[in-house]
């Protein structure tokens, strides 16, 4: 007896063979039936803005990387190569929407408006969270792989219960798709038709493990089995990412339920500043992806549109340098937390037990100081 598995509905799994692209490597605008209607307002100035955003995100990344090497930050997970995969969707979000991401979402944090002096504190190991989640509508960065996808679904369910048209975006890596929480999140999103968008940044590696170890099928195929429509998008094409995110957010906002976007991209740097990618991938592969650089492509597209690239580059550089300066200053001037803060905010209603430990700790510190 044989079991026949139905082929995935082509309408639900777009771009499985070739990821959706609208900007060719040489900056040519490729027509795309699905995405084009969502890009009609993207003129030269809108594309310039996306370009400047990407330059700023990249600059933040390179500056932070350097600051780590110089001992100002304890760790940094670089996003070099993933700028378009973050900037495109981040600029499609509404102000009221929420982001539930992992630890590599510096682009989202920056564009949601995280205060750089607070943001720096995470990677100096001065604080667990580098922004006010309620203020910028982005949950604290998440290190437990995949856990945040459930939070995004729950938030979306709550937004729907409230009768609002807010949506949640949850973003995670290719490795995360193997975690049980991500599968549970897909089940719940589908069951409750939650207005949530799943953004998988497939940067090809989970630390050293290639995506092929996580999945024998394109990641975008997985959600279709949960009844969740999916798009496989060129993650180095900021316009394709922007349009795909708009489609997904529109669907969610208008009651269409969840959508999954697989951004096919590449992490060009190491996993974090402690990692050595030479052990698990070769130079030729890295170079092939450098040729698909998300910023170069937009520069060429802007040139084709007749933009004054010298002016655009100069403007972007000023803004990026400004950001880098601000970030460096924040890193250099950040004050570590007071030791007493160890005891703060464990409970909404502090417990007697913990207050007692606080007093014991203070007494101990005072006694040491008195004898010093």
């Amino acid at each position: 007896m044989s079991i026949t598995v139905p082929a995935p509905d082509p309408a639900l799994a777009v771009g499985l063979d070739v990821p959706l692209t609208v900007l060719d490597l040489d900056g040519t605008r490729l027509p795309n039936e699905l995405l084009d209607p969502h890009l009609t307002d993207i003129d030269e100035s809108a594309l310039t803005n996306l370009y400047v955003d990407m330059v700023r995100v990249r600059r933040l990344d390179t500056e932070a990387f350097a600051l780590t090497r110089q001992g100002h930050l304890v760790l940094w997970p670089p996003l070099l190569g993933q700028e378009a995969a973050q900037v495109g969707p981040a600029r499609a979000l509404g102000e009221q929407d929420w982001v539930f991401g992992s630890y590599r979402e510096h682009g989202f944090a920056l564009l949601r408006g995280a205060d750089m002096s607070e943001f720096a504190r995470i990677w100096k190991a001065y604080a667990h969270s580098g922004w006010d989640p309620q203020e910028i509508r982005m949950a604290p960065s998440q290190i437990i792989i995949g856990a945040q996808t459930l939070h995004g679904v729950g938030y979306a369910m709550a937004a729907k219960m409230d009768g609002s048209d807010d949506v949640a975006l949850t973003t995670f890596g290719d490795g995360a798709t193997s975690e049980g929480d991500v599968s549970e999140a897909l089940v719940w999103a589908s069951t409750f038709q939650a207005p949530v968008v799943f953004l998988c940044q497939n940067n090809q590696y989970a630390i050293s493990e290639p995506v092929a170890l996580q999945s024998g099928v394109p990641l975008a195929l997985r959600p279709t089995g949960f009844g969740i429509p999916s798009m496989r998008v060129d993650g180095n094409d900021v316009l394709a990412m922007h349009a795909a995110a708009r489609i997904a957010f529109d669907r969610a906002r208008s009651g269409g339920g969840p959508t999954f976007i697989e951004a096919v991209t590449y992490r060009r740097g190491p996993h974090t500043t402690t990692d050595d990618p030479k052990r698990y991938r070769d130079r030729a592969e890295e170079e092939a992806w450098i040729a698909k650089d998300p910023l170069d492509r937009v520069e060429r597209a802007l040139e084709r549109m007749g933009a004054n690239m010298e002016a655009v580059r100069a403007e972007a550089k000023i803004r990026a340098d400004q950001l880098a300066k601000e970030f460096r200053a924040a890193c250099e001037h950040a004050e570590p937390p007071l030791a007493d803060a160890i005891f703060d905010q464990v409970y909404a209603q502090p417990t007697r037990r913990l207050e007692r430990q606080r007093l014991e700790h203070q007494a101990f510190v005072n006694s040491i100081e008195a004898t010093a």
């Binding site: 604290p140 437990i144 939070h151 679904v153 938030y155 929480d181 905010q345």
Partner: protein
């Protein structure tokens, strides 16, 4: 005004009153809607409050807690039900790494007013994974409150307080007591941190929680026949533990016994005995005793009564701490008493 309710009905009443008192409260769990829960604790609530507020969940424990976290970000107060103690482990990460830490990680800017209801404990003659006492895993985690109840009144008052609390609370319900009846006054909402002296006495202190409170009270009645006065403390809160109340009691009695169903090692009794030793060592007349489950997996329920703390095991411990002859077995404990005089 009081009414007579079973412990299960008292919980149901607390849930109903919480749902009608605050429209941001909602319930989520497996089979809690149409069926009314496998113990019927949520009976009728979906009929009254609708499927939007009493949500039947897909079978995904991590998701029950993980999505409740997302709802908390938006100001909902979710009461999540884990169907049985033994099924909480798939949700462990979301509880200890997420729920417990979000306030701390965000420096107080994110609040997780989540209540997680867990029927716990044995003595119901069930199959495996249905009788466990996993409370210590959670008591060990900062940021969580872990509470239990021993009577219908306690269950009502504690659950109301848990749902009103801005801290995440694990509420362990003694499932073997679901059908015991008691008077409930719905105006009483208690704090989540204070133990309760449920019987006073001057000879021995027994600290218990959840299902073992009744066992301890029965032991106290039996001991009274022999002229021994036992003070019984219902700990109520497992984390934080109200060590102050226990220390006060031990100062009067000089003897401490802790009773719970969970295994002995690294348990609530380990913590309580250590804390009392730190703070009242000079008041102890005898080594503290622990009457607990053994350090085995929960046994097949055909033999669970050998595993669970019983009145006899408690009385045996009472005799040991008093250094007296066991009135049933005749064993003489006067030589094993370490400190203080035998009576």
């Amino acid at each position: 005004m009081t009414e007579t309710l079973t412990l299960a009905k008292a919980i149901n009443a607390a849930l109903a009153d919480s749902l009608s008192g605050d429209d941001r409260v909602l319930l989520m769990g497996e089979d809690i809607g149409k069926l009314g829960g496998v113990f019927r604790v949520t009976d009728g609530l979906q009929d009254t409050f609708g499927p939007q507020r009493v949500i039947d969940a897909p079978l995904a424990e991590s998701a029950i807690i993980g999505t409740a976290i997302g709802m908390s970000y938006r100001g909902f107060r979710v009461v999540a039900e884990i169907q049985f103690d033994g099924f909480i482990y798939p949700a462990f990460d979301q509880i200890v790494a997420q729920v417990a830490k979000l306030r701390y990680r965000s420096q107080g800017r994110v609040t997780m007013p989540l209540t997680i209801r867990v029927p716990f404990g044995g003595a119901i003659g069930s199959v495996e994974h249905h009788s466990e006492s996993p409370e210590s895993y959670f008591a060990h985690t900062a940021g969580l409150r872990v509470v239990t109840a021993s009577t219908p009144q306690e269950a009502y008052s504690t659950l109301r307080a848990a749902i009103q609390s801005d801290d995440p609370v694990l509420f362990f319900e003694p499932k073997s007591k679901y059908y015991t009846k008691g008077e409930v006054d719905r105006t009483i909402v208690r704090d989540l941190e204070t133990a309760n002296i449920v019987a006073s006495g001057r000879d021995v202190t027994i600290a218990a929680y959840g299902p073992t409170v009744e066992t301890a009270l029965r032991a106290a009645i039996a001991a009274a026949d022999e002229g021994i006065e036992i003070e019984v403390i219902d700990l109520r809160s497992i984390s934080p533990l109200d060590v102050d109340t226990v220390v006060e009691s031990v100062r009067r009695t000089g003897r401490l016994i802790v009773a719970h169903e969970a295994p002995n090692e690294s348990s609530v009794s380990s913590e309580l005995v250590a804390s009392v030793a730190e703070r009242a060592f000079q008041h102890l007349e005898a080594a503290p005793e622990r009457v607990t489950g053994y350090d085995t997996p929960y046994p097949p329920s055909a033999v669970e009564h050998d595993y669970l703390p019983s009145i006899d095991r408690l009385l045996d411990a009472v005799d040991r701490t008093l250094g007296r002859r066991n009135s049933r077995t005749g064993l003489d404990y006067s030589s094993v008493t370490t400190v203080g005089a035998a009576r």
